[in-house]
Symmetry: C2
Subunit: 480 residues, 2 copies
Amino acid sequence: MKRYESLAEEIAQSIRTGVLKPGDRLPSVRQASASRGVSPSTVFEAYYLLEARSLIRARDRSGYYVIAGTKVLPPEPELPSHPSDESAPVDVSELVFEVLESIKTRDVVPLGSAFPSPLLFPLPRLAKSMAASVQDMDPWSTVDDLTPGNAALRRQIALRYLADGMHVHPDDIVITNGALDALNLCLQAVTRPGDSVVIESPAFYAALQALERFGLNAIEVPTHPRDGVDLDALARALTRHKPKACWMMTNFQNPLGSTMPDEKKQALVNLLAAHEVPLIEDDVYGELYFGSKRPAPAKAFDTQGLVMHCSSFSKCLAPGYRIGWAVPGRYAKDVARLKLTTTLSASAPAQAALADYLAKGGYDKHLRQLRHALSVQQSAMMQAVVRHFPRGTKSTRPGGGYFLWIELPGNVDTLEIHRQALAQGISVAPGPMFSAKRGFRNCLRINYGHAWTAKTEEALVTLGRLIAANGKMNLMDKEP
Amino acid sequence: MKRYESLAEEIAQSIRTGVLKPGDRLPSVRQASASRGVSPSTVFEAYYLLEARSLIRARDRSGYYVIAGTKVLPPEPELPSHPSDESAPVDVSELVFEVLESIKTRDVVPLGSAFPSPLLFPLPRLAKSMAASVQDMDPWSTVDDLTPGNAALRRQIALRYLADGMHVHPDDIVITNGALDALNLCLQAVTRPGDSVVIESPAFYAALQALERFGLNAIEVPTHPRDGVDLDALARALTRHKPKACWMMTNFQNPLGSTMPDEKKQALVNLLAAHEVPLIEDDVYGELYFGSKRPAPAKAFDTQGLVMHCSSFSKCLAPGYRIGWAVPGRYAKDVARLKLTTTLSASAPAQAALADYLAKGGYDKHLRQLRHALSVQQSAMMQAVVRHFPRGTKSTRPGGGYFLWIELPGNVDTLEIHRQALAQGISVAPGPMFSAKRGFRNCLRINYGHAWTAKTEEALVTLGRLIAANGKMNLMDKEP
């Protein structure tokens, strides 16, 4: 922990224990610097951090004041979703494309984005690894690195699993063009048009689009915002619909942020094994935990080779490189062959650059910084939701990742809010993007993966007004 | 033209005009160097080139001799293929994977390879472009370069079309993970499972695999080894089967090497427009012409937006980078959306590196060298086929690319030869890889995209023996 972080933590502790009370003025930067024996910039950084966490607030020219005795967080949504238990074809793509299109403009506030800020990644370090590895590139590596992919990179990925206590052999890994490619290949390997596939409710829209593209039916299973899929409901769906696969995010699910506890993951793997149904596990956010330890993927409990585990470097190291992978268990050969016939291989220079970066070390340090930044930004976003959204708004409190799932009170239409917000330069991801039947109309997914700025704050103010107007609510009618 | 090339051309001219006759001894390197006023290494390189073209041959310690007054070429196959005119499901993948697997071993003589030698490409120059472009990379480019792809690269591609007289707007281009991705996306955009698709006979096996994967039926149309698809047969197939697409290679078709003349391409485009059937055009070899001018793609004749033109840099500039593109005409939006939902985007660093390389110039010079190398190697391969394969062997004479299509006499089984050759460290591509119903059992595709070495010559000798043994032919029973 850096000096400014421990100073901030000390002050936060004083606020939590009531030594400092709401409205109290903090010592000036100069006073604090003198009394604590630290540099003014350390004090400034500590205050900045506390402000980002909405514990203190600067008032023009008069210094910093405590604004909350304990963090005021929005209440959490408490109930799992309750989708229909029928299977159904999917028709959501048009809406998803409309929203995706909107985030490509740089001056839009990207609350609807699927990506964290590219400024959070060590692109200059990666550039060095790229330059070094292409300069030394053996021309024949263009053949050697064909699917299943660069051997050094597969070894580095296997080593990371080993560090987390999982035994994955490099030969079990198929390198892909990002996790999306891995997930699509896994789905193709185990389904045929007309089959049914279990997904979460709400689900990552790419799963919905994949089902739509391959003519598969979706079985949406109730999912709790804290600990994920309802296993009893899943058991009934398995018996009733005989699905050919489940597609799930076990850690920091997109959009809910839910994470299955270990014992639940174990039970999930056992249940699916009993039905001989493969689990396509999307674990792209697993490294972005705010706690003390990486949550295990379901793959860690797989003894039957039925878990088709997918991940990538796109969300935690190298956006744009498009390097992901699958560990498809007993379907490894099928997935590799599908990869060969669809896109042949991932880009050789990108594979070599990542292998070089991982071998040289520094990834864990980068991840620690990234997690810290995301956790601070999550806190700032939650506080802003409390400040600016109508009373009754609920928000998830995910232990990682970079999305909040917001349940709005009353009869709010987030599709309408999405359009109105976009007209004012703000993107959001409306709830219906995440459901086969366009449910979750009163929900929003909000991205907090970008640095908190005055523009973000303004965007939240605007959003709050749009929501209140849409739901005919009075913003003033809030808890103090 | 370099000094040694013009010297070689002078000598070749003397051989063609009969000034030098078969069996004549050439001046020694020392004599020629003195009499022509060039360095010994220039003479040596000229002789090496003439030897590669099989015009002269070195005999141990006694110098170089003319071996042919005019080139002895294998006879050409004269008839188009005659596939069944029924449509049929496809089942060829297992065989294709078996052959593809075999070329991954470096010490196999890669006559069955789908790729030219990676040594033919300017990888160090590309490495410089890669290093420069990742160092300068704007972090936000990871968002900007999302599908349809890097704007600078799309502009460079459009400029190359313009230089060939084609007007393609950068916005009409979708960047993909190589041409294979482009072709697959185009096919998905216009077909549904159960539809029929017209392909050439023989066809590139990736087309067969794509049809198999998507549950499409193949209509194989007779194709002439010199000028491509039989348009009368195509017209009948269009009327009878109402296919949803045609997938064709109009230039240096793989495996035949056939190229449709311009007027035939125009007629093809007109015919398909009359039936409102899109043409998925695979033009990956178009830049590898040996003549004076790039053959136009069918896209050049498209006024209806029905030609879905696909190409890449994998065969002519940057193997392993996996950067290709589609110009899908009226289906551009559908193809871009499919790209977004399957693999999101091509690798951003690879896109930026190619944009930088193309902007800096040098691509045309590289292409001239590449074409020259391939044309020399084609000549050497044809001569070796004449020398070592049984009488009655026919070979195509493609005007570009790096494949010969060999028709073997008698009752030869190339699947058997493939297995026997592989056991001796030689890969070949047996004819049945190129047909939905495993036809062309007496045919081989031979790759001449690798530098000619003593090992290649030995491999041809071995192959000739295997073929003769398989067909119970006498190798000695040949023209002198």
